[in-house]
Symmetry: C2
Subunit: 215 residues, 2 copies
DNA sequence: ACTTGTCCTGTCATGCCGTCAGCTTACCGA
DNA sequence: TCGGTAAGCTGACGGCATGACAGGACAAGT
């Protein structure tokens, strides 16, 4: 599938090289969690990995290039979010459960990868197509499933005809992502995480079905 | 109210100084729109403003400091978003209109200031309290009004008791902000801006009142 | 013209960036 | 065992941004 890992100057990376490369990625990932993206420097990453800046440039064109690599790995994992919705029902009590599990799974995923997701979000918002594409890959998995569910309910006449399934699904997914990214912000509104989740699930359920959930 | 404008080394800025200072802010603002935050350098801002880097450092400790200044000015303007909700009703047809006008006003504001808001969002997500505070200032104006509306409807028994007004309001506001920041993303889902707005308004209305709007 | 305080810039030490040439290490076949 | 070859790593370097300072330019009042 994916060709061999290559260095910037075209060499094929062997065992040792791949290990260094991965170590650099791991260290960069860690740095993104602890310091502002703007202040992450190649030399710091290299130092942390116990190597030299020149080595970093052997494997990545620049910091952004390495970030894209990390983001790609995460996006691959993110494709699994589809499972949160595959084959689920939005009817009755199981609908409420579907909404809850979606919120839970999504928030967990975001929390796990929050540092890299912040950067991806920024890159996408700034109009960088590469970041944009990665963000899409993650959100699409959830968005498409949601849009399908809404469209199906719509075809059964249980959702108004002037609803645009993609627009609603996209907005709900954006909401999930935004809330996940700013979970801390809610505490200053006096909202604890445990309270937040059911209310999010409620909004999801309302958005998808147009009705309050029966619990 | 606010004390005089001061330089980094404590001098009071006069008319001429304030003009240069503002020019630097304007140029920085422009650069944020055209290039990634990570790549905005002091020397470029200074060049664009027809001055020297040293001058920049006379008025701001660093790029971040200047960005905070711009963000503050914007936040002051953003406080006016409250008007979108003050004294509005959520009942019947006027409720639908309230939702629509909120969406319109909010999206316009975000579009107008998207570059600086991206950076504020990033700073807040990274845990920087100064950016966080600014973000709050803007969102609070809308959030509080929304939460009040929900709480009021709740006290009248028109909204379920286990709904947390702050949590719902916060989530809806986060949704608005996220959709505004990634409006471009929706086009790849085949959703045009004109279609997006009414669907957003629908979600807002559903979230606040728990019911579909009567149009 | 002189003083005072504001305003701007030339210059400098420091540190990161990104590249290259060249050295070291690992692997492999004879 | 012994080169040969390709992978792997780094010291060193020019270039540029940073941030500090001292000193010169300027405007306004006396």
């Amino acid at each position: 599938m994916t060709g061999q890992v290559r260095t910037v100057d075209g060499r094929v990376a062997g065992r040792r090289g791949q290990a260094t490369r991965q170590k650099l990625l791991d260290c960069l990932s860690e740095m993104l969690s602890s310091s502002p993206y703007r202040d992450v420097k190649v030399i710091d990453v290299a130092r942390k990995a116990g190597t030299s800046p020149a080595t970093f440039y052997q494997y990545f064109p620049d910091v952004e290039g390495a970030v894209l690599e990390i983001a790609d790995q995460m996006a691959a994992e993110g494709a699994g979010l589809t499972e949160l919705l595959e084959g689920r029902s939005w009817a009755g009590k199981s609908g409420w459960q579907t909404a809850q599990e979606l919120v839970d799974g999504f928030l967990d995923f975001w929390k796990k990868h929050d540092a890299i997701l912040r950067v991806v979000d920024l890159g996408a918002a700034e109009g960088d197509k590469r970041f944009y594409k990665i963000r899409m890959k993650i959100l699409n998995s959830v968005n498409n499933s949601l849009a399908d569910s809404i469209a199906e309910l719509q075809s059964k006449g249980r959702v108004d005809k002037d609803v645009n399934p993609s627009a609603v699904a996209g907005s709900l997914v954006a909401m999930l992502a935004a809330v996940a990214a700013h979970q801390r912000g809610f505490s200053s509104w006096g909202v604890k995480q445990a309270e937040l989740k059911p209310n999010l699930a409620l909004l999801i359920h309302l958005g998808v079905t147009g009705r309050k959930p029966s619990k």
